[in-house]
């Protein structure tokens, strides 16, 4: 089942085209990363699917149905900033979230406050919270009542390194429990570490979308090294199937068309040519490299 379907969504703010003809689907049970530099339209896109912004063109469907406020009640969301009543305590703010969404009960408020480590401060006014605590309360609000779908816009914003690691672990745990998580981020390693699917936006245009392995690995890379590098260099020139190679310090990176890299074949070929490899490893192209490659074109 598709959790979310976007069809040709466009949105402009005056002359600024924030989103242009964006279409992709988010299947059930994935961790879907929306990646893009600042101002690429990530938050605008999430704003549209949460009905706080109106698209100029195109449409979207939640749970394969036309959009409806009741669908949002089943989705735990954090959009852009933690939005709470400053004069109310953390617990009282979550009580409002609970009453509006119908998710969870009094006990589950305590439970999520425990998860986001705010139990000690649950009776303090929101205005007294630090940036990180506000962010954690917002994550708590999204988690309230254990929704099956989460929309998280820059969830680790304002958190310290320990907090970031905790949220990542939490996201992975939620994903392993079958939750669908839609996450926007400009932090590449964040997406790389937790996402199964990714969409890349740049200046409102969708550059790529799909499974992480498909988007980020359209070439197979095999890293090899041998003590006699000069001989290795001459030998790999005639390696079958290989498209090109790069020198990377002491190592060589051999590029193969997708699905054509066979480690055993590489090893056998080198061995037959009298070279003993001391390194043979498949390598995923780093997301950063891919991201720059995509967004710079």
């Amino acid at each position: 089942m598709q959790i979310l379907q976007l069809n040709n969504i466009s949105k402009a703010y005056g002359r600024i085209q924030a989103l242009q003809d964006v279409s992709f689907n988010i299947p059930k049970g994935c961790v879907f990363g929306i990646l893009g530099p600042n101002g690429s339209g990530k938050t605008t896109m999430l704003g549209i699917i949460l009905d706080v912004l109106k698209a100029d063109a195109g449409h979207y469907r939640w749970f394969e149905q036309e959009p409806d406020p009741h669908q949002r009640k089943k989705i735990g969301s954090l959009l852009e900033t933690p939005n709470f009543y400053h004069y109310l305590s953390g617990a009282d703010n979550l009580k409002i979230t609970q009453h509006i969404s119908g998710r969870g009960d009094a006990a589950s408020i305590d439970a999520v406050l425990e998860i986001v480590k705010l139990t000690q401060r649950k009776k303090s006014k929101f205005s007294t919270y630090s940036l990180g605590m506000k962010q954690r309360l917002a994550i708590g609000g999204a988690l309230l009542g254990n929704p099956d779908v989460l929309v998280l816009d820059e969830p680790t914003n304002g958190l310290d390194p320990v907090g970031i690691a905790e949220i990542r672990a939490l996201i992975k745990e939620l994903a392993s429990n079958g939750k669908t998580i839609i996450m926007a981020s400009h932090l590449l390693d964040e997406v790389e570490k937790v996402c199964t699917h990714v969409a890349i936006l740049k200046k409102g245009k969708l550059l790529a979308a799909g499974h992480v392995d498909e988007v980020l690995l359209n070439e197979d890379i095999v890293e090899v090294a041998a003590s006699d590098k000069a001989q290795l260099l001459t030998v790999v020139q005639q390696m079958p199937e290989m498209s090109h190679f790069k020198e990377e310090g002491d190592k060589l990176q051999l590029y193969f068309p997708q699905g054509k890299a066979d480690l055993e074949a590489v090893n056998r070929y080198c061995h037959e040519k009298g070279i003993v490899l001391n390194l043979l490893t498949p390598k995923k192209k780093s997301l950063e490299a891919k991201f720059f490659e995509l967004t710079n074109n």
Partner: protein, 271 residues
């Protein structure tokens, strides 16, 4: 509806400004009426002919059933106090961006606006209850015509309608302007200067048929000047009493239009 009321109550029951308003209203409503009550007592206590004449002319504005009318009229001068709260209630939602979060969490835009309308109704309701309590207090204290207590009771619902309508205008300004202090400034300037001057000028120019359609003037005329002040010009007084029904309709139409406009705008625009 009850569900939305519950959510709004969670928002305002711990909002300090709400209780501040409650306190200030609890002081000003009895206060202003007490001042006029004392003035009335001073005049009518005089043992000379003027005193007797005044007593005859002024009647008993703070005894049943006149008390409903008098107290409602004087209390209505302080509509600015709840107006401040009403403006805060909507501009807070913008400041905290909770006007987005409520929608994100699953409210429809219409429900959100309905919630704000309930807030304004609660605030107008608190003011009305306070006004009714003060009127009852004076009525019991002066202990005259207790059997006629219900005769002019309709001024209490009229007070509610007037307050709700005028607070809705304040709300609309806060809703459109988004910034509390600017909205408050605009409201003050309009209430104190623009409309007063315009209505008075139009009346002077014998163009009152235009003047009576100014937004606040429409509902101001729900509570005409009380008998003891109005009887100076009996003809005008009777006319103002007769116009109440007409103005009730105008007020309801205007208030409905304001809320319809708020809902319409809120449904259409980006939050």
């Amino acid at each position: 509806m009850l569900h939305i009321l519950k959510i709004e109550w969670l928002k305002i029951k711990k909002y300090p400004a709400f209780w501040w308003m409650f306190g200030i209203v609890a002081l000003t409503y009895p206060g202003i009426n007490l001042i006029f009550f004392n003035v009335y007592n001073d005049i009518t206590k005089r043992k000379d002919v003027a005193g007797a004449l005044a007593k005859q002319l002024l009647g008993n504005p703070f005894a049943f059933p006149e008390t409903w009318h008098s107290v409602a009229y004087f209390s209505s001068w302080f509509v600015m106090i709840p107006s401040i709260l009403v403006i805060m209630v909507i501009t807070n939602e913008y400041t905290y961006k909770t006007h987005r979060q409520n929608i994100i969490d699953g409210m429809s835009r219409q429900e959100f606006m309905l919630g704000k309308m309930i807030d304004v109704a609660i605030i107008a309701g608190v003011a009305t209850i306070m006004c009714a309590l003060v009127a009852t207090g004076f009525g019991i204290y002066t202990s005259k015509y207790a059997d006629r207590w219900a005769e002019q009771l309709h001024y209490i619902p009229l007070f509610f309608l007037q307050t709700f309508s005028q607070l809705s205008i304040a709300f609309f300004l806060g809703f459109v302007i988004r910034k509390a202090f600017i909205a408050l400034g605009v409201l003050m300037f309009y209430v104190v200067i623009v409309e007063n001057a315009a209505v008075a000028y139009l009346r002077y120019q014998k163009l009152d048929f235009i003047g009576k359609f100014f937004p606040l003037e429409m509902s101001d005329r729900l509570l005409p000047v009380p008998a003891f002040l109005g009887k100076i010009d009996q003809e005008a007084y009777d006319k103002s009493l007769n116009a109440v029904t007409e103005h009730t309709i105008y007020t309801i139409v205007l208030t409905a239009l304001i809320w319809w406009g708020c809902i319409y705008l809120y449904k259409k625009r980006d939050l």
